[in-house]
């Protein structure tokens, strides 16, 4: 008779896709998050437990791309060419060139990207190297977490 079901009780029964527990069994929130991630359905008595709602400020599908380097013709063209080929949509773009130092910041939507985030980053950094600028890409959550309460 199980009273409490935790994340680790689920791990021990990972092969089963549907888990049934007697009515009134206690299931921890962590266990429900884990089950949702692994596609395991949990029934307590007759009732199916709903997927827990996410609290992490939702994992967004946006990234911030920053470009720093010496100002010259074709930086934006070069970077946006890579983004277009990867089906990454530019949502916002801001750039300045003060005393020859070029900085550009783009917010992009990566939800429909045709490559993984690592590959995108790699491609951007290779292209950055060709036009001698430093290109970085980070998921947007970092800025959200650090600068917004």
């Amino acid at each position: 008779m199980e009273i409490l079901v935790t994340l680790d009780s689920l791990k021990n029964r990972e092969e089963e896709k549907v888990l049934r527990f007697p009515p009134d069994t206690l299931v921890t929130r962590e266990a429900r998050v884990y089950a949702a991630k692994k596609g395991i359905e949990i029934y307590v008595g007759e009732e199916k437990l709903p997927e827990p709602s996410f609290f992490n400020g939702a994992s967004s599908q946006r990234a911030v791309i920053s470009v720093v380097g010496e100002d010259k013709v074709g930086i934006i063209a070069g970077i946006s060419d890579v983004l277009a080929r990867c089906n990454v949509n530019i949502l916002d773009i801001t750039q300045t060139a003060i005393e020859g130092l070029f900085t550009m910041i783009m917010v992009v939507d990566i939800s429909k990207a045709t490559v993984s985030f690592e590959e995108l980053k790699e491609k951007l950094s290779v292209r950055g190297g060709e036009i001698s600028v430093r290109v970085d890409a980070q998921r947007e959550e970092v800025f959200h977490f650090m600068h917004r309460i």
Binding site: K11, V33, N56, D136, Q138
Partner: protein, 454 residues
């Protein structure tokens, strides 16, 4: 755009120019189900469990680094204190277990594995004694295994027999690793009030009240705090100073919170705690001492250092506590001498002495950390230094620790080199007067009274 350009540039600058990083993601793993009556069987079970449970740790950490653009310097594992796991083994030498841990660590590509530990604040069991006896051999024959011994607590007092034994264990460990300046001692900590969820080495272990597996995160960022303090005008008052540090601590901790939660979710384990510690590195500027100096002290160790450190430590906790819901571990500024360029300079200039460091440990975590002392320091003197530090922790109800290296063949003024994050340290002089009669008394120093608090 949701963020201003300046905010985005600030974050990028923090990472690229000021060494903002996540110091460690530490996966705590319970080994309680690995016990058996044979040490080789236990060792094999431990190896098998670690290599299966933790196989995703390094790949997930690497992925998080790429996606979020914040470096994760160390990936570590902490395990149930081995004295508990190995207690039922017939054999008394626990070295095979440590070797298995070391092999697993190498296989997984992690940096350190902690938990070759015993909790002996009130006395020893058979397993505790066997573990203590194995420490010198283990630390000299493994690369990544870290050991810790909790010798005191505010509830139990100080186990002076353990303290006395640790003096000898530290000396033996140093002499067994003499060709590397006693580096074995850099992987050994003696604690008072050890915490169960510490992600930092060498003192990490997976406490008995912890879940099966858990992710704990240690943040970093002295370089970032250093920059904000230096930017303030020289006459900014302490309220403004504290405010600026709090704001920065909030941002640093949020980065840790994000990475920790994401790591726990992807690894499918519980999220434990964020350790709000400013952990320095040997990189220039990434230094606690530099922050204290930026507050207006000529050198770290000058009069005023303890007050400056107290302010820094408190402001970091206040800022960090709002940024994460689960604070734990050691949570305070670290002052490891060899790992902090500013501390190294202060110690070699003679500004920072062992006594001043001891005073500083009253107001921050975690204790006398990574301090090289002359190789001919008697073991009783080392025990007495440990006893002093334990007393500070026990009376003030805080965690304190000693990680001290009696560098073989070195005398005060020489340098020892450990390399990497462990850095290099000047050998600092130790008070020459004798404490051996005191230390040899043995027994237990009773716990302090919990009322009459003045």
């Amino acid at each position: 755009m949701n963020f201003t350009r300046d905010e985005i540039i600030e974050t990028i600058r923090m990472v690229q120019a000021e060494n903002l990083d996540i110091r460690t993601i530490t996966l705590g793993v319970s080994l309680r189900d690995c016990a058996s009556d044979n040490v080789e069987v236990t060792a094999r079970r431990i190896y098998d469990k670690l290599t299966s449970v933790a196989c995703e740790l390094v790949p997930v950490a690497r992925k998080l680094e790429t996606e979020f653009g914040i470096p994760i310097i160390n990936k570590r594992i902490s395990v149930t204190p081995i004295a508990l796991v190995a207690e039922s083994c017939k054999e008394s030498d626990y070295t095979p277990i440590a070797r298995a841990m070391d092999r697993a660590a190498a296989e997984l590509g992690i940096d350190f594995i902690g938990g070759f530990s015993a909790l002996v604040q009130k006395g020893f069991t058979k397993g505790d004694i066997n573990l203590l006896n194995s420490i010198p051999e283990v630390l000299s024959s493994t690369q990544k295994v870290c050991s810790s011994v909790n010798a005191a607590s505010s509830k139990a007092g100080i186990n002076m027999d353990a303290v006395r034994a640790m003096g000898r264990i530290i000396k033996q460990t140093a002499s067994l690793t003499a060709d590397e300046d006693g580096i074995g001692c850099a992987k050994l900590v003696v604690f008072a009030n050890a915490v169960e969820d510490n992600p930092f080495m060498a003192g990490a272990f997976h406490g008995t009240g912890e879940p099966e597996t858990v992710v704990n995160v240690g943040i970093s960022g002295p370089g970032v705090v250093n920059t904000v303090v230096r930017r303030l005008p020289k006459d900014a008052d302490f309220g403004e100073l504290s405010e600026a540090i709090k704001r920065m601590a909030f941002k640093i901790t949020r980065a840790g919170e994000l990475i920790g939660r994401e790591a726990a979710r992807r690894l499918g384990v519980s999220f434990g705690i964020i350790d709000l510690s400013l952990a320095p590195t040997p990189a220039v500027g990434d230094s606690i001492a530099s922050i204290l100096e930026a507050m207006g002290l000529e050198r770290c160790g000058a009069p005023g250092t303890t007050a400056a450190l107290a302010l820094l430590n408190d402001a970091v906790k206040k800022g960090g506590a709002m940024a994460t819901s689960y604070v734990g571990g050691l949570s305070g500024a670290f002052i490891p001498v060899s790992e902090d360029a500013g501390m190294i300079r202060a110690a070699s200039d003679g500004a920072l002495t062992l006594e001043k460091l001891e005073a500083m440990t009253c107001v921050c975590s975690v204790g006398l950390d990574m301090i090289a002392i002359p190789g001919d320091t008697p073991e009783q003197t080392i025990s007495a230094i440990i006893a002093d530090e334990m007393a500070i922790g026990v009376i003030n109800k805080k965690t304190t620790a000693v990680r001290i290296i009696p560098a073989p063949g070195k005398k005060a003024g020489d340098f020892v080199e450990f390399g990497g994050l462990l850095g290099r340290a000047p050998v600092i002089p130790v008070n020459r007067f004798d404490s051996s009669i005191f230390v040899k008394r043995g027994g237990q120093i009773p716990p302090p009274i919990q009322s009459l608090t003045n």
